[in-house]
């Protein structure tokens, strides 16, 4: 053992480490600076205030509400998207006439900007001239216009639905990748043993695409948790902050009210939540991997 052997790995790892530090640690450090100081609305640091910005958040009922709502939003959208994507991916994995076209159709919404999708839905959900109301009227499902975006009770579930809709393409793509990796002879063998379609799905498909579902779960959670356009374009978190999630709340606090210190504190809280979530997730998958 020479000292060279001991040092070499660290030297090799150094460039990536420096890069990671620049990309990750520097902004977090900047945020911590902002969050622990009183900051004027132009981002210029004034006095050190310690945890005051965090305390101000805890005193704000809108923050607590937004925190809970972010949980509902993330679980709703990610859960809904995965539940819907598995059957879609299974169908698209079958060999049928026009499959390529069907795949393109499913992927297409992905190519449309999220903001634009949200704006189109804002029009579709408009109370007096919206497409959804006229369609429901034509089918005789409702006899009075529903004011979808007028209150959280109808607006927020619709936003979650749209969130699910736009998350499906990406999720389907990942699951399709998983399905493609399952060799056909597994199913042939299972069929010979007398396994039905449900049993094949339960005991072959599901375990084998589990790692892919995990990827979809983690990436979607991070993405949806931080997703801004749908809610902002449709209700701006209103009426009366009743559809705010943490990012829209953060934007309002930071750029509308000019409290950049508090906004940075929100941002750090969000970073913390996602970090904890990711760590738990890594622990879980690592231990499961060890058992297998």
């Amino acid at each position: 053992m020479t000292s060279k052997r001991v040092v070499a790995p660290y030297v090799l790892i150094l460039p990536s480490f420096v890069l990671a530090a620049l990309i990750v640690i520097w902004p977090v450090n900047e945020l911590a600076q902002l969050a622990s100081h009183s900051v004027n609305r132009f981002g210029q640091l004034r006095d050190f205030v310690g945890m005051a910005n965090f305390r101000a958040l805890l005193d704000d009922p809108n923050f607590i509400d937004a925190l809970w709502r972010t949980g509902i939003w993330t679980i709703g959208v990610v859960g809904g998207a995965i539940l819907c994507s598995v059957p879609v991916a299974l169908v698209l994995n079958e060999d049928f006439y026009g499959r390529d076209l069907a795949r393109v159709l499913v992927m297409l919404p992905w190519a449309v900007s999220l903001t634009m999708t949200a704006i189109v839905w804002r029009w579709a959900l408009s109370g007096e001239s919206g497409m959804l109301n006229s369609a429901l009227m034509d089918f005789g499902i409702i006899d009075e216009n529903i004011q979808w975006l007028a209150e959280a009770r109808t607006a927020f579930p619709m936003q979650i639905l749209i969130g699910i809709l736009v998350t499906i393409p990406f999720t389907v793509t990942i699951i399709l990748g998983g399905l493609a990796s399952i060799p056909d002879d597994l199913y042939e063998a299972a069929a010979l043993e007398g396994a039905g379609r449900w049993e094949q799905f339960r005991y072959i498909t599901l375990p084998l695409i589990a790692p892919f579902l995990n990827i979809a779960l983690v990436l979607n959670t991070i993405y949806v948790f931080n997703s801004f356009p749908i809610i902002w374009a449709m209700t701006q978190g209103g009426p009366a902050n009743s559809t705010d999630i943490l990012v829209t709340y953060l934007y309002k606090v930071g750029f509308r009210l000019g409290k950049l210190g508090e906004a940075s504190a929100v941002s750090l809280v969000m970073f913390g939540i996602l970090l904890v979530f990711t760590l738990i997730y890594v622990r879980l998958t690592a231990s499961r991997g060890a058992k297998a």
Binding site: R41, F42, Q44, S129, G238, L257, G258
Partner: protein
Amino acid sequence: MLAGVGAIALSATANAGTVRMTVAEYSAKTGPYFEQVAKDFEAANPGIKIQFEVVPWDNLLQKLTTDISANANADLSIIGTRWLVDFVEQGIAEPLDSYMTPEIKGRFIETFLTPSVMNGKTYGLPIAASARAMYYNKDLFAKAGLSEPPKTWAELETDAKKVSALGNGVYGFGLQGKEVETDVYFYYAMWSFGGEIVKDGKSGLDSKAAVDAASLYKRLIDEGATQPGVTSYAREDVQNLFKQGKIGMMMTAPFLANQIRAEAPNLKYGVAPIPKGPGGDQGTYGVTDSVIMFQNSKNKAEAFKFLDFLFQPKQRIKFTIDEGFLPVTKAEAEDKYFADNADLKVFTSLLPIARFAPVIAGWEEIADTTTSALQRIYLGQGQIEPTLKEAAAKANAVLKK
């Protein structure tokens, strides 16, 4: 390498005579207008170059915040005058008095220049101004048997009910309950009932006038005199309903007339003053945007030279007509276009009673609190008096800071 250094040196000298200005995009006409002004100015003033960054209104404050914190702001910028107090308190805006001749100062209509005067110093020049008046649909009024627009809020309530009674998705009073200026839409009535946004350093939201105004709006909603679901209607949404001929009355700015001319030329509408309250009080909302100069600008003389040019009649008249605002300089107001325009006359006649957003730090937060409280009242999620009291308490806490 040497060539690169040379290029940097060259661009540095070029920058010496370059004035950068951040411009808010009011419409598709804004960008081309400023391009033209820059061309004309550069032709008249060789050696000075003008550079614009045209930014959508919604992102303007965010962009300025980022630029200023990075010390990369332009020399001049358009800002909402209600933001000015922050710019002044943080030492970001440069007082313009030392550059301004009495002639330049004399060009402006006093009402519009005063909001940018703080502590006796002029920090901005008004570039855009508007006030609000009531638009009404003449066809719907005729169908409902009404011959003229309401003069008081009591009349407005009966008239709105009559128009709503026409049915077929037609509603009497277009009420805004979403996004920016939801609070302003409420002040129209509050002022008419004798209320003030801030009086003696205290919020007027818990005053009798505010409660009366909120009760009136809530009654209009409950009586079906407004469009349903007011909390899902931003200003643009209500304006669209008006353009579609579905709304009897609404209050908004002069630019709606421009939009109607372009998008719904057959709509028969009239413009009338904001109705009066029981005590004869009346108020409209005046808004100005100002151009400020940054304290850290390195080309202050050149920048002001450009401002002087920008505020000459030829440039001003084109801008104001393009964007559908009100004249801010006396020379504009005398121009035939404005002097003969019946719609605009109503707006200008309201200027003596126009009120501006109070010049206080934290105004945006108070506006936000007010909007939230109103939305809860409109939705029936809060009793009127306690909800307004709570909002007033929050506003007072902001005012004390």
